[in-house]
């Protein structure tokens, strides 16, 4: 058996390999969320996840928070978009049951890029004068070290963000373990920056994606991928841009239900019963 084939698994087994306390990087709702894995994590439930939103979170993370899986969220925003505020996130903050590391989109991306490059930090313009600096003592302001002598040029430096696991859904993978993401390069950044990458896919194709010059350009090499599970339509209900649309009815139902603890619990029971039918 080659290293490549051993990464093929099921969504249940993939979810089981995410330990309590793991630092997981997840994409925004439009970029490929591994919703079947999320269902398994909620059923278990996994505990004390540190979720790194790349760079913002939505339904996926609100659900994990509601199910008590999350200890800490690092995000530029948590929102259900046009369906309103993220109700479980908001409730958990109010109750003090989760920690929030408020960020801004490019700071999260820069932190992941630092990890991708193996550097301890990345500088970024902006941010100075924002209260983010107050609530993020891990972000430092230094004087630009290449500024001309004596010139005061303050700049923020952000520590590298190195998640344990990048978790996402993509359109397809091949049997060698390469994953096609097209223009969704934030998924490649997540895979490069994280220690491991766990991926669900709508389809597993026979031909090696790297052998097709057009597909290769949008492919994460197997080198970075540690688990792949087949999950057709696996990004539903949030959808997969360019492949299938969000299920707006299901999303609205969640947004309405999750406004209360009881509503969320009921929604969760119903959803898990459907999503995790015996395979």
């Amino acid at each position: 058996m080659t290293a490549q084939s051993s990464i093929m698994t099921t969504t249940a087994q993939l979810a089981a390999r995410i330990p309590n306390g793991a630092k997981i990087a997840v994409p925004p709702d439009y970029s490929g969320c591994a919703m079947t894995v999320v269902a398994h994590l909620m059923r278990r439930p996994v505990r004390d996840l540190h979720v790194v939103a790349v760079p913002q979170a939505g339904f996926q993370v609100d659900q994990l928070i509601g199910a008590g899986c999350v200890a800490r969220v690092e995000a530029a925003a948590v929102t259900l978009g046009e369906f309103g505020l993220a109700p479980r996130f908001t409730a958990a903050l109010k109750a003090g049951t989760i920690e929030i590391l408020d960020a801004t989109c490019p700071a999260l991306q820069a932190g992941l890029q630092a990890s991708e490059k193996g550097i301890p930090f990345m500088p970024l313009r902006g941010i100075i004068g924002s209260d983010l600096l107050r609530v993020r003592p891990d972000w430092k302001v230094i004087n630009n070290p290449i500024a001309e002598d004596g010139q005061h040029d303050p700049i923020v430096v952000l520590p590298a963000i190195r998640p344990d696991i990048a978790l996402f859904h993509a359109a397809k993978a091949d049997r060698a373990g390469n994953v096609w993401i097209g223009v969704r390069r934030e998924l490649m950044l997540m895979a490069h920056a994280s220690k491991q990458a766990f991926v669900t896919v709508d389809e597993i194709v026979d031909d090696n994606l790297l052998h097709d010059p057009a597909l290769a350009a949008g492919t994460i090499p197997a080198l970075y991928i540690h688990a792949i599970a087949l999950a057709p339509n696996g990004a539903a209900p949030v959808g997969l841009a360019g492949h299938y649309a969000p299920d707006r009815k299901a999303l609205k139902a969640y947004a309405d239900a999750a406004k209360t603890d009881e509503g969320f619990t009921k929604w969760q029971r119903h959803m898990l019963a459907i999503a995790l039918e015996p395979a």
Partner: protein, 247 residues
């Protein structure tokens, strides 16, 4: 569609679109349907010369290097205008997207907003940032924000090619003077008085004796907006387009 009465959101679109004239590249966030509509209209008026990049759009999103490309592109100076809203906006153009309540209890705000998104960066590097907020009340336009997601102005030693340009609400248009760190009432939407604005605004600002009315659409522009632009808007902001134009 025979109703040529201009609706409130359309007035905001009419107020924003002229601010984008003669620019090269305007970017719009995923949750900014009013600015998005204004940008697409401005693009139409420019004969396609104006480049409009809308996050979350399939058709109007040219980026191929992942979520960071918008921010990198802005950092390179390739984006001329962008739009920010805020749970609170204050008289110094400081924007709060995090929450309202006792700062000492952060993160347990009385009301939590989604978060700062890209504001803490884009506000510094995009030359013409247009603030917009439909709700114009002392609750949203405050004297001092409870949390600064992005400051309106910076001390001179801070690298800052970008910053606030104007603030558009459901009542009026303010412009912003960076040197004085202060808004000026620029125009009033139809039926709104200077006193209405003063009463609805939590921060102090300047106004001249004679404040003009916000320039509205020509009949032709309004038709274009409600047909061509509306269907383009629907691709990215379906809920908004359905509510406003029934498309």
């Amino acid at each position: 569609m025979t109703d040529m009465q201009v609706r409130p959101a359309e007035i905001m679109i009419a107020a924003i679109a002229p601010m984008l004239q003669d620019l090269s590249h305007v970017a719009v966030g995923a949750q900014s349907p009013i600015p998005g509509s204004a940008a697409l209209l401005a693009r139409h008026r420019s004969g396609g010369r104006l480049r409009v990049s809308i996050l979350g759009s399939q058709k109007h999103n040219p980026f191929t290097d992942g979520g960071r490309e918008l921010f990198d592109c802005a950092g390179q100076g390739r984006i001329d205008a962008f739009f920010l809203s805020g749970g609170q906006i204050d008289g110094g153009a400081n924007v709060n997207l995090v929450g309202v309540g006792d700062i000492a209890n952060y993160p347990r705000a009385d009301q939590r907003f989604p978060g700062s998104f890209g504001s803490s960066y884009l506000y510094f590097v995009i030359p013409r940032v247009i603030l917009f907020r439909e709700e114009h009340t002392p609750r949203t336009l405050v004297k001092t924000v409870d949390f600064i997601s992005a400051p309106g102005t910076s001390s001179p030693d801070v690298y800052r090619p970008g910053g606030p340009y104007a603030l558009v609400t459901s009542l009026c248009v303010f412009t912003f003077d960076k040197k004085r760190a202060r808004f000026t009432l620029k125009s009033l939407h139809p039926g709104v008085s200077k006193a209405d604005v003063r009463a609805a605004t939590g921060f102090d600002y300047d106004e001249s004796a004679d404040v003009p009315q916000t320039e509205l659409f020509s009949r032709e522009d309004l038709t274009v907006l409600r047909t061509t632009i509306a269907s383009e808007v629907a691709e990215t902001y379906p809920g908004f387009a359905a509510r406003l134009w029934n498309v």
